[in-house]
């Protein structure tokens, strides 16, 4: 975590605290218990973004209290149904996910940014995703958000020499091993779900579930 992303995060939390409340009436009209996460649509040129992203979504969503269908098994079953990738999956009528999986809602993820940029002495890595949750009975959009998480190098070591060394080391390491995007993808997901006023209300396995309407709706 760098100072820049920390400041952004704190600013974002402060900002959302006083922003207009999101309208959750659609959500509570079709409050889901179970969510099927389908393979993400990758709008970036990073081919590894989709498979890596798919390893980071189950935990934050299940910790929000929902039944999350097994993501990898879902992908295998969708392939069996002739739906190997997101482009095709996003065309499928929503009721079909209810028929085939028994899911209350489907989470569609679009990966908007998945990149590392090198600027002079610093590298900066960004993950941006947009999430759309749709009801499988009506096709209604229940909830949506776009979130990004960033991390930059050159934060670590006091003074210009420290920056030089740190940037050089980071650069060298990035050349040898791939940058691990998982912590940023995970952070973007968690931000999306827990952000006050705009987050995803909790699911039935969460202790706050009974209090959802007070927290998100009737205020």
């Amino acid at each position: 975590m760098t100072s820049r992303s920390a400041v952004t995060l704190v600013a974002l939390i402060a900002l959302t605290g006083c922003a207009a409340k999101r309208d959750y009436s659609g959500y509570f009209a079709h409050e889901p218990r179970s969510i099927l996460v389908v393979p993400a649509l990758n709008e970036t040129t990073a081919v590894e973004a989709e498979p890596v992203y798919m390893t980071t979504i189950s935990r934050p969503l299940a910790e929000r209290g929902f039944y999350v269908f097994p993501v990898y098994l879902t992908e295998l079953l969708l392939r069996d149904l002739g739906l190997p990738e997101a482009g095709l999956i996003n065309q499928v009528p929503l009721e079909r996910f209810r028929d085939q999986f028994g899911a209350d809602a489907v989470l569609f993820v679009t990966i908007k940014d998945w990149s590392t940029k090198y600027v002079v002495l610093q590298s900066s890595t960004v993950v941006q995703v947009s999430l759309v949750l749709k009801d499988t009975r009506t096709g209604t959009v229940l909830w949506e958000t776009t979130q990004s998480a960033a991390r930059s190098s050159g934060d670590g070591g006091g003074g210009l020499i420290g920056m030089l060394v740190s940037a050089a080391v980071t650069y060298a390491i990035n050349q040898i091993i791939d940058v691990d995007y998982r912590p940023l993808a995970y952070q973007a997901n968690v931000q999306a779900f827990v952000m006050p006023g705009i987050g995803l209300p909790t699911g039935p396995y969460h202790p706050d579930f009974a209090n959802n309407r007070n927290l998100y709706y009737s205020r």
Binding site: A6, E63, G102, V194
Partner: protein, 129 residues
């Protein structure tokens, strides 16, 4: 970066990472490692071992098994030809999470068709992948 900001950062990140709850609902153990092996490194043997480990560790530590784990493991056993054990874990998923029952019932029917056709293969003839 000054010390106070750093402490605050850690606190904010900690609260967000923890989902603002006091403790996690589930024992995640090696589930994400398993997903990484399936999605990224395409190492089925490692993925399956990590699923098994996730279930064993959750039972040892008396934490709840996360949603999807028993289903993924049951399906992995099915792909390995261990049909009876596959049915056991698919049923366990449905017991832990009734939301999964319609899908688990469908998968169990599919597994039972294989039992009717091929019978249960001997454990010793299985390849690990």
């Amino acid at each position: 970066m000054n010390g106070r900001l750093r402490v605050m950062t850690v606190l904010v990140c900690g609260a967000i990472a923890a989902g603002c709850g006091p403790k996690p609902l589930y024992g995640w153990n090696r589930y994400e490692e398993s997903l990484y092996a399936s999605y990224v490194t395409h190492d089925d043997a490692k993925a399956w071992a990590a699923l098994e480990g996730t279930i064993t560790l959750a039972e040892q530590k008396h934490t709840r098994i996360p949603p999807g784990v028993c289903a993924e493991y049951g399906f992995a056993l099915y792909r390995r030809g261990q049909y009876e054990r596959a049915v056991h874990y698919l049923q366990q998923e449905a017991q832990l999470f009734p939301e999964s029952k319609p899908l688990m019932d469908k998968l169990i029917v599919k597994v039972r068709e294989h039992i009717a056709h091929d019978g249960e293969p001997m454990a010793s003839t299985e390849s690990p992948r």
